[in-house]
Amino acid sequence: MNVDPNPVNLGLLVVVGLVAACGVYMLLERSLIRMLLGLLLVGNAVNLMIIVLAGSMGNPPIYGRTSDNRPADADPLAQGMVLTAIVITMGVAAFVLSLAYRSFTINTDDDVPDDPEDRKVSAQSRSGAPDRDRSDDPLTGVDTTAGDMFDDDGNPLSEEEIRERKRSRIEADLMPSDDDSDTDDLIDDESLLDEDKR
């Protein structure tokens, strides 16, 4: 049986898994500081994994230097990657700490609340829908003629102006047989106007 000259260290891999699991558990917390600790744990787990996966121990990767008479050099690239990752994580950790402090000064705790807009949407009734008009029928939400009671600049029209508009529109229709219904419309409009005032 051939023995692999560069066996992967199972113990370290288990440690990587455990640290990452702890980190994920803490990331799922609501408290910002715990989330940060979780982030750091996962980060360290990944860094450790890079070291483990990059091969076994070796000499320092500097020309002419040896250590314990090991046969090969350690992989410098993996160390470079880990150093870069550590620096990045440290910068982000500093930033998250400042966010946590800011959150503490605003809310006196560092719990991360739900998104208020999400809550609004999930609690939304028909009357809170984004396509709702003020003039919509309060029960069914359908359009009503009250929506026409504003001029082009958005100012409410007076009763006189509404009658005037109504009349001109009907005259444009040139439908003499609509005489009856046209008075009905006016009455409807007036009752709606009254409702608005109330």
Binding site: L39, M81, A85, V92, F95, D133, D153
Partner: protein
């Protein structure tokens, strides 16, 4: 003196280097806003010009690789040892579109700062951070090795953290926390993916890794791809990894949201395209990607329908339309890929434009909520600026959104599988629903009288600059109501014009995307550019 191949070496580094130098200078010049602005605009314009020249050069001479510091190790049998920057047609196109967007948005932000700027606005940090973001985005498009890609992601993420939490109001801190956490988790998954890929192949250089991955067993290769896809999927906001986006983007200042929406997710899409074509050809994950693309489209647009805030609504359409690009990539055909590339360019422009217009709406009407807005059609300029990109996003002919969608649908029919047809149906439905959402914004915010809006009598306290001002006042009591500042309108118009240009020159640009897709499908071009010699 003509532009020839020898210019490549200089030009390749400029889109990253100029913004970085600019960032350092603006940081030092924090006390003199005029110099800051001038330096920023010069740096980004320089990056834009360099990108345009790169586009021309790649069109003429093909892919070019720069081994920074000369560590190419040619002829030694080892691969490149140092950082490699690679520019091919896809990179060049992405660079040009991105720098156009970055330039317009910074002009817009400067215009807004000049108009609304007070001593409390932290503009002294805005421009340096923005330039760092620019450097990160440009470097991501040029990165020729996996770790350099990771570092450029981190550069742009670190900058985006600062931009998203400018002023650190309660809302922005809340949004910032979830954004920072999700982004960092995605970065750590990416880093783990790098570790696995390095363990499997012993290299980080994309070209060399692509060669060595051929000898890696299929299962391992698919697993590596899956890890990287999760990392890039979070960045690109692909369902089910997309929920962070609509929560965090809308609270940022308008120019910041605009540039994030346009660029950051597309960097993720770009990384997916690279990994899919260069590292893992053969489409081992295509079914997963197709289903993810379909769900991204549908869930995104259904989310948009429920939103009253236009910024949130647009964030959901942003998520939704990422699905189209994933669709094009996952078809694994040259035509699908060229459709996806064209769609990326279209979507960067149109989504940024819409967010800039929303910034104008907020400025003009003191709100971005459909429950408060009304009567905006009184300003034909604003209405026109909104309508063109809105129809474009909704896929109305003759705009570029229509062309991109038709290309993707045609690529789907060429594929012909059942799943592809389902995706085609899904993309048509999504397109119609997008149009519905845009039409609703139009009828409510532009056509309805403001008095008919349910909360039309309320407005935000002040014009939203870089710092968030909280609270509501009666609409009539607003102090600073007035014309839209010219410094904000002109950059928005430039973006609209850029979107129309993508329509007018759709033929040449699509041809370009098609050759870019051809070069991507044939990996030999990329490999020989980086590693030297035919392989």
């Amino acid at each position: 003196m003509s532009v020839d191949r020898s210019w490549f070496a200089t030009l390749v580094v400029l889109p990253t280097l100029l913004p970085l130098i600019g960032a350092a200078l603006t940081l030092v010049m924090g006390r003199s806003p005029r110099i800051q602005r001038a330096v920023t605009i010069v740096a980004i314009t320089g990056a834009f010009v360099a990108s345009c020249l790169l586009l021309y050069l790649t069109d003429r001479h093909g892919t070019y690789a720069l081994h920074v510091g000369g560590w190419d190790a040619r002829g030694t049998g080892n691969g490149p040892l140092g950082i490699t920057l690679v520019v091919d047609q896809l990179s060049a196109l992405m660079l040009v579109v991105s720098t156009i967007v970055l330039l317009c948005v910074v002009l817009y932000a400067v215009g807004q700062g000049i108009r609304d700027g007070t001593t409390e606005q932290p503009v002294s940090i805005f421009l340096p951070t923005y330039l760092a973001l620019t450097a990160g985005v440009c470097n991501a498009f040029l990165a020729g090795d996996l770790f350099n890609l990771f570092v450029s992601f981190e550069v742009l993420l670190a900058a985006s953290f600062v931009l998203l939490t400018l002023g650190a109001s309660a809302d922005r801190v809340r949004a910032g926390v979830s954004y920072v956490m999700v982004s960092m988790v995605s970065s750590l998954i990416f880093l783990a993916g790098i570790a696995f890929a390095y363990a499997a192949t012993g290299t980080l250089n994309l070209a060399e890794m692509a060669v060595r991955l051929q000898d890696v067993p299929d299962g391992t290769r698919t697993a590596l791809f899956a890890v990287l896809l999760v990392a890039f999927g979070i960045k690109a906001a692909v369902f089910p990894l997309s929920t962070w986006l609509p929560d965090s983007y809308p609270t940022a200042p308008a120019p910041v949201t605009a540039v994030f929406a346009g660029l950051l997710t597309k960097v993720g899409v770009y990384a997916i395209i690279r990994a899919h074509t260069l590292l893992f050809p053969g489409g081992s994950m295509d079914t997963v990607l197709l289903i993810a693309g379909l769900l991204t489209m549908l869930v995104g647009i259904l989310g948009a329908i429920a939103q009253a805030d236009i910024k949130r609504l647009l964030s959901f359409t942003l998520v939704s339309h990422i699905g189209y690009m994933i669709f094009g990539v996952a078809l694994s055909s040259r035509f699908g890929l060229s459709g996806a590339i064209y769609y990326v360019a279209h979507h960067i422009l149109v989504q940024t434009t819409l967010f800039l217009v929303v910034g104008l709406i907020e400025r003009q009407a003191g709100s971005a909520s459909l429950r408060r807005l009304g009567g905006l059609a009184a300003s034909p300029l604003l209405a026109g600026l909104f309508l063109i990109p809105a129809l474009n996003l909704g896929g109305i002919p003759p705009f570029s959104g229509f062309i991109g969608k038709v290309a993707l649908i045609e690529a789907g029919t060429q594929d012909g599988s059942v799943l592809a047809w389902v995706l085609i149906a899904g993309s048509v439905v999504t397109s119609l629903l997008t149009l519905y959402v845009m039409a609703r914004v139009w009828t409510k915010a532009f056509w309805r009288p403001r008095a008919d809006a349910p909360e039309g009598d309320l407005a935000d306290v002040g014009p939203s600059g870089l710092v968030d001002e909280e609270g509501d006042i009666a609409f009539g009591d607003r102090a600073d109501v007035g014309r839209m500042p010219i410094g904000m309108v002109v950059p928005t118009m430039m973006m609209v014009v850029a979107g129309i240009a993508l329509t007018i020159w759709a033929g040449p640009i699509f041809d370009f995307a098609s050759t870019a897709a051809g070069d991507l499908s044939d990996r030999g071009v990329y490999l020989s550019a980086v590693l030297g010699g035919p392989r």
